[in-house]
């Protein structure tokens, strides 16, 4: 008690090293997880050729020899890419539009109601959204596009877009709101209309933050499991009749395969290894996405997203 200064300084040292340890630990944790997934997955290629993993067009792990089993990356990867790309195409215009509206157009009173409501959407559990998707979006898609079944990549994209929108809106809105008022005043002073000000001054200034927002939204979409299992139908098909045909038919995603099979698989066999290799691929995809988002965020420092 007599030397409070000394006491605080030593406490500061402890806190500082604690923070350093947790910082290093979080990096180490990511590396360890990747190493573990890789270690469990790689032995697959002792039993199953890498070439077949990369070129096999089917995923039928219980198919008996000599025909099977089939552990094809392609149908899974294609499904993930297609559903996520579709979700981006649907979500981005809507979410960016909503964010611009919230930040620059809507009056305060509306903003105060709408923004928390959109944020609330992000908290709905995915299994609940998946259930709504299976019961409502699937039949809707089927009737709208006159399909044989609503279980399709399109339905998956719509539901995933719905899940990505809150993330994109919230973070984009933060980025837009962080653009200094002087930028807006300046554009008005130069005789620009409101639209010119928003489209040529405010949005470009907030662009890095908005790109990061989109990447985070995409990250949520590509990693989502329950929803895609419930609404995409999980048929591991590669496209043979054009993009639209593929988009309106069932697909199987990496996460869907992992979610459906990982719990039931026998420990250590080829199927188990193959699932871990899918995990490796998924890890790499999300890593690249995060890396790109990070680049976008850091491109222009001190802008947006504080």
């Amino acid at each position: 008690m007599s030397k409070p200064g000394h006491r605080w300084r030593s406490l500061e040292g402890v806190i500082e090293s604690a923070i350093r340890v947790s910082g290093v630990a979080s990096i180490a944790l990511v590396i360890l997880i990747f190493a573990f997934v890789l270690r469990e997955g790689l032995p697959l290629f002792k039993e199953y050729p890498l070439r077949a993993f990369l070129t096999q067009r089917g995923w039928q792990p219980t198919l008996s020899p000599p025909t099977g089993p089939w552990f094809g990356l392609l149908p899974n990867l294609w499904g993930s890419v297609l559903v996520t790309a579709g979700a981006v195409v649907i979500a981005v215009p809507l979410a960016i539009g909503a964010a611009v509206c919230l930040a620059d157009v809507a009056p305060r009173s509306i903003r105060d109601v709408v923004k928390p409501t959109i944020e609330l959407l992000a908290t709905v559990p995915s299994v609940a959204i998946g259930f709504v998707g299976a019961a409502a979006i699937n039949p809707l898609v089927k009737d709208l596009f006159n399909l044989d079944t609503g279980k399709s990549a399109l339905a998956g994209s719509i539901v995933l877009a719905f899940m990505a929108i809150p993330t994109i809106v919230t973070i984009s809105d933060d980025a837009l709101s962080a653009v200094p008022k002087s930028f807006r005043d300046g554009s008005v002073a130069l005789g620009a209309t409101r639209w010119q000000g928003i489209s040529r001054v405010v949005i470009p200034s907030a662009a890095p933050g908005m790109i990061a927002a989109i990447m985070l939204g995409v990250g949520r979409a590509i990693g989502e499991t329950m929803v895609v299992i419930m609404v995409t139908g999980n048929a591991g098909v590669l496209p043979d009749k054009g993009l639209w045909h593929a988009f309106t038919h069932s697909v199987r995603t990496i996460t869907g395969t992992l979610g459906a099979e990982a719990l039931e698989v026998a420990y250590g066999d080829a199927h188990y290894r193959a699932l871990f290799m899918l995990g490796v691929v998924l890890f790499l995809i999300t890593y690249v996405l995060n890396f790109v988002a990070d680049l976008a965020l850091n491109r222009k420092p001190r802008r947006a997203l504080q």
């Binding site: 219980t62 198919l63 008996s64 025909t67 279980k151 069932s250």
Partner: protein, 289 residues
């Protein structure tokens, strides 16, 4: 605040230590005078069933330790011949060659039917189809037939629904309808749960799916099946499964090498009795009586 946290931590530790110590003691108590063990090995289809049996059985017979492993019916039968397991689970009857092989080793393999596995094939309510032969069903699921008009229905694309690959039902269907080593059509949709199959078939006019016998609801139509073109069409009911006339069903077996030991006999009696058969029902298999 801090003091409270410490107190909580200490209490936590003590409780953990106490439960940690008492658990093995309990085990040792019952193990004391000769715990008997029983190994059950074989069919993957039956693994979950056998594990559920083991849990219930051990509750009622704390002096018997049952360990259940899968590996497939082949593995189980091989283990039985090598005395590697007390009981073998098999989702197929033993072959004559296997019986001969066992006889050469002086083993008289005993067979017990312990449960039945049966599937219903369902279509949309608006579908006029009311029966299919097994070959037609196979052609539909391998993708050889893609339109309902090819099997006597009204024109329209067939939308295939299947269970996930991890499901025993999927494996049963693959082996029993398509044949071993015959792949499903790649556009067959793999649904995570039976309820999803029912829902999808109820929504899609061209939908078809297979579900456990107990899962047919009034939102879908279960069709009759024919073993071949000349056989009668049989409805999927428990009675028809039991009298053997329904084609999409199979008995599930347990085998012992020679007459069952006292412990194995206890197990078999229980499994085939009321308690065991209640578990069979709970796991959506068909009971033997």
């Amino acid at each position: 605040m801090k003091a409270k946290m410490w107190a909580a931590a200490v209490i936590g530790l003590v409780v953990a230590a106490m439960t940690g110590c008492s658990a093995p003691k309990e085990g040792a108590g019952s193990a004391g005078t000769g715990t008997q063990t029983l190994t059950v090995k074989g069919s993957d289809t039956m693994v979950q069933l056998a594990q559920a049996w083991a849990e219930e059985f051990m509750k009622q017979h704390p002096d018997i330790q049952v360990s259940v492993t899968g590996g497939g019916s082949n593995t189980g039968l091989a283990a039985l011949m090598n005395k590697g397991t007390d009981i073998c689970n098999s989702s197929r009857p033993i072959k004559d060659e296997e019986k001969d092989q066992a006889a050469k080793k002086g083993i008289d393999v005993q067979e017990f039917v312990v449960a039945r596995d049966a599937l219903s094939v369902i279509v949309n309510l608006s579908n006029p189809i009311s029966e299919l032969t097994r070959d037609q069903l196979k052609d539909i699921y391998t993708g050889k037939v893609t339109d309902w008009s090819q099997v006597g229905g009204t024109p329209g694309r067939i939308v295939l629904n299947s269970r996930e690959t991890s499901s025993g039902t999927y494996v049963f269907f693959q082996e029993h309808v398509l044949g071993k080593g015959v792949p499903f059509a790649d556009n067959a949709m793999l649904q995570p749960a039976t309820s999803q199959i029912v829902q999808t078939v109820a929504q899609d006019k061209g939908g078809i799916g297979y579900v456990g016998l107990g899962y047919v609801t009034d939102k879908v139509k279960a069709i009759k099946l024919k073993a071949d073109a000349a056989s009668p069409a049989v409805e999927g009911t428990v009675d028809n499964v039991m009298n053997g006339s329904y084609p999409l069903a199979r008995p599930l077996f347990e085998y012992t090498a020679g007459a069952p030991s006292a412990v194995a006999q206890k197990w078999l009696d229980w499994v085939r009795g009321e308690g065991g058969q209640a578990v069979v029902k709970r796991l959506d298999f068909v009971p033997i009586k």
